[in-house]
């Protein structure tokens, strides 16, 4: 802003403060609720923390919510972790090598493959749920970690990011490596991969969050309760036909569901922001 108006500055900060409240309020309320006994939250609103923090969290982590199936949230988080890490690793590895092939080699069908990969951008899971389910089922991958991760790792965003990055690597670097005697595989591992470090870090953040927060796909392919992921598990907690709705436990689960992605975002904020902007441009 050009003019120096103290009033504007105050107003700006006020608005930003309001923004923070809007953004963080629901999380605060949920956290508060998660520290109370079930009865405390059933009829009244709690403004401040209760005393049951440790108790509630230990309970759900270890034995889950009895009234809705009793799967330990700890197990759910473990499933989510495996799925998220599987997606991160899987997606990054197959995308980077595909991008490498498409940028640094000339081969027949190169453009054809490029367009096939591009098509995945137009086919989010939601437009092919049933047929994909059938494919996974016929491959015997229901209720498995493989089934949870494999169908999600081929979409094009990471490939495009790497492709874009590779196009900016100076040709002379490749030539110098050639003169030095490096073949394509050596060049990839010794030079291209180290240079891609920041992009890979950024993708790790984004893909971890993407993987952890998967909802529809896990719901579709897991019927075995022990394979529940935490994000899909929350939904199961909401519907208690006869028993008391234990909001406090549900909220505790919600907080736990949010925790790892939020931690990742905060710790790796710079990479995250950079990666987000890069992937979309």
């Amino acid at each position: 802003m050009v003019e120096n108006r103290p009033l504007m500055t105050v107003l700006t900060h006020a608005m930003l403060f309001l923004a923070i409240i809007i953004v963080l309020f629901p999380i605060y309320i949920a956290f508060v609720a998660s520290t109370h006994e079930a009865s405390d939250v059933l009829m009244t609103v709690q403004g401040w923390f209760g005393n049951n923090l440790v108790e509630n969290y230990t309970l759900i982590l270890q034995s889950g919510k009895a009234t809705t199936g009793g799967i330990p949230v700890g197990t759910m988080m473990w499933n989510s972790l495996i799925m998220a890490l599987g997606i991160v690793f899987g997606k990054i590895s197959i995308s980077i090598i595909s991008a490498y092939a498409i940028v640094y080699f000339r081969f027949r069908f190169r453009m054809f493959f490029f367009w096939i990969i591009f098509m995945t951008l137009m086919l989010p899971i939601e437009v092919r749920i049933l047929p994909t389910y059938h494919v996974v089922a016929s491959l015997g991958l229901l209720n498995s970690y493989t089934g949870l991760t494999l169908p999600l790792i081929a979409s094009a965003t990471a490939t495009f990011l790497f492709r874009q990055f590779f196009l900016t690597v100076p040709d002379e670097l490749t030539e110098a490596a050639r003169v030095d005697g490096a073949g394509p595989i050596r060049f990839f591992f010794d030079i291209l991969l180290p240079l891609s470090r920041t992009n890979i870090a950024a993708l790790c953040v984004i893909l971890f969050i993407y993987g952890w927060n998967q909802y529809m796909w896990p719901i579709l392919i897991t019927t075995d309760k022990s394979m529940t992921t935490i994000v899909m598990g929350i939904q199961a907690m909401l519907y208690v036909p006869d028993a008391i709705n234990e909001w406090n436990l549900t909220m505790a689960t919600a907080i736990l569901a949010m925790l790892p992605p939020v931690v990742v975002i905060l710790v790796l904020q710079r990479q995250f922001v950079k990666g987000l902007i890069e992937t979309e441009k």
Binding site: I20, A101, V127
Partner: protein, 293 residues
């Protein structure tokens, strides 16, 4: 763009693209093809035979009042969510762009919702607006407003729109902020010297220069509201009450997975595919040109 320097290996590139191509074909292309195929067939109840019916499934779809209703609902939902999420995101970005002190703090704090899954966001707002014990519901009640989204369709829509936009604000905020920071300060200063006040500067200079970002985010927000909000609907309202929040992506799931109507669900999938393709094509075409206005 092409690289001048390439390697001459014969088989290596094929090896490198194989994993991605295979998975893409097996889990993306083939199922998409299946959906297209199923959308033009009707299966008998036992799944023993199927009959090719041209576009009957589609015709039936578009004459089904429930589907039309779902289209309308989705449209309202998408428009509201996008508008709310975009304008709030823009507002916060403009504010954040102005502060010098504390910018990093605000940025960190406003990022959180991106990490929250839509379903979880839905649950959070469900809790706050829970008729019996939600803090916001009770506040509204005390102000004389009877909140009960379980019964009132309109309120259910409000609930899911708020939950969906809340989550998306962070994303829009980040991109708008980045876009704002790319505008050269000298342009704004020149405008100020020319006599334009802050508000006028914003609408005549900053906003038009943000148009690539705005357009891009618009497409992203629409895609988000069409597809990624499945979690919110599924967890919070299940399309209810009385189909008030029955958006397209949820209907596909319910009809296909629970109702087992393969042909109809496939037809709906195809419609959704057409929408995504259109949006993606528009986005890519538009981004090629980077128009100002």
């Amino acid at each position: 763009m092409e690289k001048r320097v390439v390697f001459k290996n014969r088989w290596l590139p094929y090896l490198l693209v194989t994993p991605q191509i295979v998975i893409t074909l097996v889990f993306f292309i083939w199922p998409a093809g299946q959906a297209l195929k199923q959308s033009v067939f009707i299966e008998d109840p036992f799944g023993l035979s199927s009959e090719f019916v041209w576009f009957d499934n589609f015709i039936e779809l578009f004459s089904d009042p429930l589907y039309i209703g779902s289209l309308k609902t989705t449209f309202i939902f998408s428009a509201s969510t996008s508008f709310l999420a975009l304008s709030t995101g823009l507002l916060f970005a403009v504010m954040a762009d102005r502060v010098i002190k504390g910018a990093a703090f605000y940025k960190s704090a406003l990022l959180w919702p991106y990490a929250v899954a839509p379903a979880v966001a839905g649950v959070l707002w469900l809790f706050m607006l829970s008729p019996a014990n939600g803090i916001l519901a009770l506040t509204l009640k005390s102000l004389g407003y009877d909140w009960n989204h379980v019964l009132k369709g309109g309120q259910a829509m409000v609930l899911v729109v708020i939950a969906a936009s809340w989550k998306q604000i962070a994303y829009n905020f980040l991109f708008f902020l980045a876009g704002l920071q790319m505008i050269p300060k000298s342009l704004i200063e020149a405008a100020a010297i020319d006599g334009a006040r802050p508000a006028k500067r914003f609408w005549t200079i900053i906003f038009p220069l943000l148009s690539p970002t705005t357009f891009f985010l618009l497409v992203v927000n629409v895609v988000y509201s069409f597809f990624e909000t499945f979690g919110i609907i599924h967890a919070v309202t299940q399309g209810g009450p009385y189909k008030a929040t029955d958006i397209l992506v949820y209907k596909v799931y319910r009809d296909g997975f629970i109702g087992l109507d393969l042909g109809g669900s496939a037809a709906q999938s195809v419609v959704l595919m057409a929408i995504v393709v259109t949006l993606t094509v528009i986005q890519f075409r538009y981004l090629e040109r980077k128009v100002q206005y």
